[in-house]
Each structure stands twice: as structure tokens, then as C-alpha cells.
Symmetry: C2
Subunit: 332 residues, 2 copies
């Protein structure tokens, strides 16, 4: 009998989550029954989208259940297989969340072919965050030649891939993040201008300075002032891929929207939200392009790593404090 | 020598315009020179979009100039022609604004073929407002079979055509307007549910009751609370045609946007603004469809008419007080 520790949702947060909303529990994993495998996770991911899932609200994905382990992506290794499709030692990807190990039907995990990449890349640049950047930029915003691109949350897992994909395609990129270390990372990524929003009292003015003729595409990860600044600086027919609004996930009162909404009319703007799971048909294109970019040495990825399942809540809370540059991961 | 009276922009308003922002002036019209015509206007239009043009702001259309006659659509009759393309008695459409008569190059006016409709229809149902409804609903929102449609400002010139086009295409239509008389008009138009927003303190709740499964398309003429209610009641993948925000044209402080912007992400919404002048390629389709609908007796139009050029400012101000049911016109 093997033990596994896991992080459960103990109580629903009001505003910013606190340590007490989480609970560390230990479970026993019996040998897997027929058709099942036992997996030992090596890496797990924490992502901003998990915060809204902690609320008891109807949305595009069911809320996390109280008393159950938090869900989410993880990469691990099959330790015992009772199914012919997988064998001990196989690397697998799963969506079963914040736990050191688990038993599951073999068809609930996906065998991972790393093609020479580090396994944890498949939780970041080569995984959902990278695909999110790809879909939002190319499909939702409809990136086309000559577009000037603005991206917020640019030093995060999704944002840093938005920067790189747009630069690889030859675009001028203006990127916003908070703090000097992140701005330095953005410059490593080759962006044309990096805005430290924490160091400016006039975000819209800073964007206007970086893009004097305006922006064609905005990739929104944060909402709020950034969205307002993007609208203010948008060119006619600009397209916005609305991916997330991390600035709003922990508010206790519903935040007001941008004060310049009427410019959606006067500038003929298109704002479009998207949820990645509706665009998995683009996965093969992304995998092909990403493999080529990696092979050419053109993808830089950065991770901020916490160690140990007991640190998962801190890693998660760190997302909302801006503690991560690049992908926030937990090494198990 | 003929006299013509015109309304000029005397001063730029702050907030709601007042009578003193306008000036009635009389000009002499000499006989038209070669290539010019003299026109006596019979009808002129006042429209909400003229309010932002009174501000000294860069936008999709230049601001009205101080001391000059206000611009806008009008329908009149050629009284003297000094150009072979037009003759006295020809009905013409122009965009030269709030004046009883004018001289202009013949190519600045368009000869109007009424096809049996009253001439003033070409300032309303058969003109720009009708085409705006058509473009926004069919092209911007991409109306498709089974869509449930919500429209605000529904008793206005654009809104009443949105209601009718959507009903003609077999859709469930929920329409919002202010006051019992407008609601009665909406019912004449055959909408499935009419919301008197002035009589409810819970617009979002009223919309939820009228569309328990949510809305697929929102045609926005007013912005503000209506936009927020539409977002709250939108189905996944709903499309919004953002046409105008009359509720915001007279504010002196920039109004906050909807408090539920994050639902743009969670519901995968698309909000798209548009300016009619970019879609004039759809004019021929509209003219063809409209002629067929009129011929079948399927278009109801309603006008609210002020008489005399000196009443044009009152007609215009009436738009913002909800005084018009259907198209607001001035008979000259």
C-alpha cells in the first residue's frame, strides 16, 4: 500500500484565498484494479483560472468540490499498470490535480511523448498555456501581417508565449508586466517595448508612447486598467483576444468595466473571449509549429518552481502576488 | 435671391446640450453656378450619433465645426439646376444638414428613387437607420437560425428595424424601451417580449424572465446597464453588435463599463462595434430585401415629427429624453 498526499479545497475563499482554504491530506493507494494504473506525479501546475473554480458558481467548467483534491494538470510516471495500454515507467499527463499520486482508469491519463523536451514544458510553453497563446493570437485575434501587438500579463506562462509567437511572426510587440525582473525577462524575449505597469501611473500614456500609431491586436490576461488602456490606444478595427482577467479574480465587489466602452463603436473594435477547450482542433497545428520553433532554438521558457505538494497553495497564491516569472510549477 | 434658414453649432455642449448651443441663421442663396444645383429640403433627420460629433474630439468622423450648419441627412427637391444630371423637381438626398435649402455641386446630392415609398422613409426604415439594423444584425452579429435576439433602444429608428428584421427571419425577439407607449409600439412590431426598462429596477432579471435560456445576439443601442444585463444573460458564444451607447453621450464623467466583463471570457462572447460607412457594400442587398418586405406589407414604420427648422434643436434634444417613438424627423 502506497501513501499519497494531496491538497483539498477545505473552504471557499472570499477575495484573496488564504492557506486555511486548503487542506493537506494523506490517502492510501491500493494496487490498481484491472484497467487502472497507479501514477506518481513529478510536476503539477497551478494556474490563474483555478481561482474562479474555487467559487461555487456556474461557469464553463464546474467548481471545485469541497473536501476533494483540487483539479488541474500534472505530469507523472506510471508506477504500476494493470492495463495493457501503459507500462510502469511511462510518462503520463493527467488532469487529476494537486496530488502526489493516484489510481485512475488508464484512459484518464495520456501517455506523453516529450520529443526531447523536458517533461515540465508540457505544463507550460508546450502545453495548455502555449496553446492558449497560439489560439488567442492566431485564431481569436486573427493576427495578420503588420499588426502591432499588445499583451498584458506578458511575463506569465501564456503572455510570454504570446510575446514569442508574435515576434517569431515578425510583429512589433509591446508587453506589460509588473516589476523590473519581469521587464528584464520580457527584453530577453525580444519584445520591442516592455511596460512596467507597477512603475507607471499612466498606463495608457505609456502604451501610447510605445505604440504611437496605436495597436491592432490586444491579448488580455488581466482586464481592468490594461483593457481600458488597450481600448484607448486601439486602431480602427483592432481585435482583442480576451483570455483572462487575473486582476479581477479576487475582488469581493464586482469591478467596474472600462470607462471608454463607447470606443468599441467609434473604433469598430472586436472583443472576443475564448476558452481553450473549444479549440483543441488547433492542437496539432500548434504541436507542429512549436516543435519547429523549439528545434530552431527559438523558444525561451522560464519557470518559477515551488517544491513539495505542501507548497502548492503557496505557489498558487503567488500567482496573484506576481511571484512567478514564466510558468508557475510545483515539483513533487 | 432666395433665403434659407439653417441651424449652426454656436458652442460645444458640456453634458446634455441646451438650446443655447445652437444658433438659427439666415443665409442668401444666389442662383447656382455651373455644375451646381439649388435644393429646397423637405425633411431632415436628427440622430443620436450627432451628439458625439458636437464634441471637439478625434473620432471616426470629424467634429462639427463651430459657426457652421450642423451636418446630417436630408431629403429635398431640386429648385434650380445648373447641371445636366439633375432637373428642377428631382427629389434628392444629401448629407449637408440642418438647413432649409442650399447650393451644392450636383455630385454632392443623390437623386432619390422612392419606388413608391414616402420620401421620408429614406431617412428611417429605408435609409441609414434601416441599413444599420440590417448590417448589425446580419453581418456583425451574424444572425443564424434559432438565435434569440435582444435589442435595446428598440422603439427607435434603428431598434424598431432590428425588431422587424429579426422577426421576419423567424427569431424570438426581446426588446427594451422606456415607457408604456413605446412598449405598445414594440408589441405592434410583433416582438415576443417587451421590457419597459423605466418600469423595472432589475433589468437583468427582466431579461432573464423573457429569455430563460439566455440570448444569442444582442444589438446594443444604449450601452451601460443594458450591456451589463445582456452579458449577464448571454449564452456561450453569444455575439453582440455594438451600434451605439445613447446612454453615455451626455455624461460629463466617463462612465464605468459593465461590472461583469469577465463573462466575456467565461461565456466566450464576441462584442463587435461597427460604423455603417464601412459596410455600404451591403446597401444593394438591403435595398432588395427591404423592397420585398415593403411590397409584402411587412414593414411598419413610425415617425415622431417636429415642424420647422427652428424646431430641429428641440427634436434633437428630444432624442435624449426618449421623446421619439420610431424615427425622429424634422419637416421643413
Amino acid at each position: 500500500m502506497t501513501k499519497s498526499r494531496e491538497i483539498r479545497l477545505k473552504s471557499r475563499p472570499t477575495g484573496m484565498p488564504v492557506a486555511d482554504n486548503f487542506e493537506l491530506a494523506t490517502v492510501e493507494l491500493p494496487p490498481p484494479t484491472a484497467g487502472h494504473v497507479q501514477v506518481r506525479n513529478h510536476w503539477m501546475t497551478v494556474d490563474p483560472y483555478m481561482r474562479p473554480r474555487m467559487n461555487d458558481e456556474k461557469s464553463y467548467i464546474p467548481p471545485f468540490a469541497l473536501g476533494a483534491a483540487m483539479g488541474g494538470g500534472a505530469i507523472g510516471e506510471v508506477t504500476i499498470s494493470n492495463d495493457p495500454a501503459l507500462k510502469a515507467g511511462d510518462l503520463v499527463q493527467s488532469f487529476l490535480g494537486w496530488r502526489e499520486g493516484f489510481n485512475a482508469p488508464a484512459n484518464q491519463v495520456q501517455k506523453l511523448e516529450t520529443h526531447g523536451l523536458p517533461p515540465e514544458a508540457f505544463l507550460g510553453a508546450a502545453g495548455m498555456p502555449g496553446l492558449t497563446a497560439y489560439v488567442g493570437l492566431l485564431h481569436i485575434a486573427g493576427l495578420k501581417d503588420g499588426d502591432v501587438v499588445f499583451v498584458s500579463g506578458a511575463a506569465g506562462a501564456v503572455g510570454s508565449m504570446v510575446c514569442q509567437i508574435a515576434k517569431l511572426k515578425g510583429h512589433k510587440v509591446i508587453a506589460s508586466a509588473g516589476g523590473a525582473a519581469k521587464v528584464a525577462f520580457l527584453k530577453e524575449l525580444g519584445v520591442d517595448a516592455a511596460i512596467d505597469y507597477k512603475a507607471t501611473s499612466d498606463l495608457s500614456g505609456a502604451l501610447a508612447k510605445a505604440a504611437p500609431d496605436g495597436i491592432d491586436v490586444y491579448f488580455d490576461n488581466v482586464g481592468g486598467d490594461h483593457l481600458e488602456a488597450a481600448i484607448a490606444n486601439a486602431k480602427t478595427f483592432a481585435r482583442f483576444a480576451i483570455c483572462g482577467m487575473i486582476g479581477q479574480y479576487n475582488v469581493t465587489e464586482r469591478p467596474s468595466g472600462p470607462r471608454n466602452m463607447f470606443m468599441i463603436v467609434t473604433k469598430s473594435l472586436r472583443l472576443q473571449g475564448f476558452i481553450l477547450s473549444n479549440y483543441m482542433n488547433l492542437r496539432a497545428d500548434f504541436d507542429r509549429d512549436l516543435a519547429a520553433w523549439y528545434a530552431a532554438g527559438k523558444i525561451k521558457s522560464r519557470e518559477t518552481v515551488f517544491r513539495g505538494i505542501e507548497q502548492a497553495p503557496n505557489a498558487f497564491l503567488g500567482l496573484f502576488k506576481g511571484e512567478n516569472t514564466g510558468k508557475m510549477l510545483v515539483k513533487l
